[in-house]
Structure formats: structure tokens, C-alpha cells
Symmetry: C2
Subunit: 259 residues, 2 copies
């Protein structure tokens, strides 16, 4: 008789406020130890983009940004601060849509998201200054994930995966969901194509966005409020750990019916 | 010191193949008992659309469908069987995009999905016939969820939630993810708007699609292969159970930049 299998998504409380230059793997391992949580082979650390960007010092003070004519024009049209619009354009390959307050872009990484993932809430400057600072996405979130994984593997002595997530809006549906932007050691996509179905008479055409499913589930436990916890330990991921890149989740522009 | 909190997503194995007219709550409770899993207040049953539709007898034999001229024209253009195209059109409010083999529609429920959610794999007729049967989405998946919840609450004596999910493709990203189509007793959206951020200087603008985050996480544990398990027991959902409707997840057409 088959037994129940579980995926457990656990918050990692007691992380300090992250500062530029902080050693995230050491802080995470320390927080786990405070909660007497041990790491096991196959565990996946799901980490909010925000603390990765903060530790990498991806802070920009808007007063240092000089808007281009294009940014000034767009800023006026959508009623957004020109310096922020300039940063969004610098961080993007292409503008897909605009509406008051929001610019939907293809970020330099290839992902489609609002405002190039630039974040204003819960952001302070490198010395704690409250005003005018924003946070950019990591330069290369797959690279960030690989660095974090090697640090966490070294400190834990276990084979683990790392998934960096952000919260994205979606076409057609209200609300944001946790979404993968970088990963190391876990599959972005799991390919069921060509496997027979239950009755062996048709072949599946299914490509599962496993990393995005994990991102969404973990995001649920991170919360978005002041008491949010930016690291989730996932145990029981049902697929083999594997080398992959989050970029594989980007649909090729020519194959996308909604661009 | 805050303690770690966990969301646990557990498969419910040992469910039989579901047939039209089956009493899903009874079969689920029986399968749980076989695995010695008890139900607790606040648990959420995440249930694959496929077994809900099967139990509701939403099977159609394609040989009984007569394609309209419009379906014949579209079927030829996208190389899809005319009877199936006819059913897709009947189940939809509007066709958004087409490409060979796929029609992206607004389903009658308001959700945007491929092929009106009509499923061909792992489907047999009411008497086990292997050929020509397809499965439609439930007529009203929120209603289905409410009926399932009352059955499961009666049998378990606990206050629980029900979430019916399907696997949807997405704009901009490869792969499918578990997505909410009906729910009872759990919030579709959780509104953080107006709550202060960590530094109390800006107000959040965040609306979290909590049901879709749970749908995706649970879908990860369902799997899509022959050995898939169509029911997941979720314990530790971080928000209050509440009355809501999946329809709230549908973005209003006029507010959607990608239609």
C-alpha cells in the first residue's frame, strides 16, 4: 500500500535585517540553529529576492539617477517618478505595456514583470536612511543562487538546492504569486512529455514548471507583511535535484501569444 | 523567540479510479483512514479538477458532437479535431488566441485557459471505454467545492477548506502550474493593501493570490504521471479560513493589459 508523501515548507525565523555585504548562508545557518532545525540532503532553501539583492548591495538612491528624455516622457504619462522610470528602463530589454503607476517590462534577465522588479517597500539605504532608496533585482539571479548554494552546502555539509523568488503579477488573474527568478541544484522544468498516461493509450504533453510551483507554495509561508520571513526551508521536493537555470522558464518571445 | 511555522502538503494515496456518481468525500475519508491520517480543524483539501469532473459525470463522447461551421473552419486552421473544437467553443465565452493544436479561451467561468480545460488524457467513458471520451471542467467549480466541503466536514466533524485546481499554462513563462478554479472556505485573495511596511513609512499595495499559491504548491505533490495523486491534504495554511469565491481571481477584462 503506498504511503503518504509530504512536502514541508517551514519558515526560518530569527534572521536579522539584511545589510549590504552580509554573509547570507552564515546568517541562515545561524537562524536555523537558533530554531534547532537541521539541514538534510535534498532540502531546498527558498529565498526572497529582496534579501539576496540587499546582501549584494543592489541599492540605488533615486536622487543620483538622471532621467533620460524617454523616461521623462513616460513618467509624465503614467504619473511615476522620472528617476524610478529611468531605472526601470535601464533594467529592462523592452517595455511591453504601461498603465498609470505601472510599467510591464521584459527585465534584462528575460522575465516579464512589473517595474523591472524594482522595490521600494521595506528598503532603506546602506546606513539605514529611510528616504529615496530602491532595490534592484540581482544582476544574475542564477549566479546568486549558485553562490548561495555553495555557501550553504559548505556550512551544512549537505547537498541542497537554492531557489530565489520574487512576487509577480500575472496576465488574466488578480493577485501576485511567488515566482522563480534564480535557482541552483533544482529543476526549473520537469518534462513529462512522451510518458504514457494511466491507460497507456496517449502520451503526455506536459511540461511542469516545478520551480514555479515550489516558489508559489513557499511564498505563501513568507507572507508579505512586516513580520514576513524571507527564507523557507522546503523538505520533500518530489523530483530529483538537478542542475538547471531559471532562464529556462522564460517563454521564447516568438512562441509567446501574449506579447 | 519566534518559532518556525510549517505548511505541510501530503498526498492522499489509495484513492480508487473515480467514476461518475462516486461519493468523493467518502472515498477521500476512506483513503485517509487507510493511511491513518486524521483530519484537523483548518485543514484544506486540494483536489484535482479531473476527479471532481469525473465524479460529476462531465464526460462527453466526441462522436456525439456535431461541429458548427465556425468550429469546422477553426479546426482546419489549427489542425485539431472539429468535434473537440466545437466543445471548446461551447464551453467558452471568447477565443483569445489560437495556434496549431491549441485554443486559448476565456472559459465560461471567466478563467483564461487552453482548450477550455477539456482533458483527453487519463479519460475513459462511463463504462471504461478507452476511445473518444473527453472530460469537461465542472459546471461551477465554486459550487462543486462547497458541496465537497460540506461532505468532508460532515464526515470528519472538522472545519475544513476545499480548493479545486487545474494545471494552466501562463503568458511569458514555460510550463504549467497548479491554478485555482473553485474553492470553499478559503480566501482566494489576501489583501495586504494599506498595511504599513517594516519601516512604517510606506503602505503596501499587495494583493496576494493565496489560493493560487496553495494550488501551485499542492500541484507539485500531485504529480502528472500515471502514479499521480489527485488529492493533497494541506495543513498549516497561514491565513484564516474564510468564505470566498475563486471567481475573484479573474482579472476584469477591462483592467487586463494582456487580452
Amino acid at each position: 500500500m503506498p504511503r503518504s508523501k509530504s512536502l514541508t515548507l517551514s519558515t526560518v525565523p530569527n534572521l536579522p535585517e539584511i545589510q549590504p555585504g552580509d554573509d547570507l548562508p552564515a546568517l541562515i545557518m545561524n537562524a536555523l540553529a537558533q530554531d534547532e532545525i537541521s539541514v538534510e540532503d535534498g532540502d531546498i532553501f527558498v529565498i526572497a529576492q529582496k534579501i539576496v539583492s540587499k546582501s549584494e548591495g543592489r541599492l540605488v538612491n533615486l536622487s543620483t539617477v538622471i532621467p533620460s528624455p524617454k523616461a521623462l516622457e513616460l513618467a509624465e504619462r503614467i504619473e511615476k517618478r522620472p528617476e524610478l522610470v529611468e531605472l526601470i528602463l535601464q533594467e529592462s530589454n523592452e517595455v511591453l505595456r504601461t498603465r498609470p503607476g505601472t510599467i510591464i517590462v521584459e527585465h534584462k534577465s528575460g522575465f516579464v514583470c512589473a517595474n523591472a522588479g524594482i522595490d521600494h517597500s521595506n528598503v532603506r539605504g546602506p546606513w539605514g536612511e529611510p528616504e529615496d532608496w530602491v532595490l534592484l533585482l540581482p544582476e544574475d539571479a542564477d549566479y546568486s543562487a549558485r553562490v548561495l548554494r555553495s555557501g550553504l552546502e559548505r556550512l551544512s555539509g549537505k547537498r541542497i538546492g537554492v531557489l530565489i523568488i520574487d512576487s509577480h503579477g500575472r496576465a488574466w488573474r488578480n493577485g501576485i504569486v511567488g515566482t522563480s527568478i534564480g535557482l541552483a541544484g533544482i529543476p526549473a522544468l520537469v518534462d513529462m512529455r512522451g510518458k504514457p498516461d494511466r491507460f497507456n493509450y496517449s502520451l503526455r504533453v506536459t511540461l511542469i514548471a516545478a520551480a514555479d510551483e515550489l516558489a508559489a507554495g513557499a511564498s505563501l509561508m513568507m507572507g508579505q507583511a512586516a513580520e514576513g520571513t524571507p527564507v523557507i526551508l522546503a523538505r520533500g521536493f518530489p523530483y530529483e535535484l538537478a542542475e538547471d537555470r531559471a532562464f529556462r522558464l522564460v517563454r521564447e518571445k516568438q512562441l509567446d501569444l501574449f506579447r
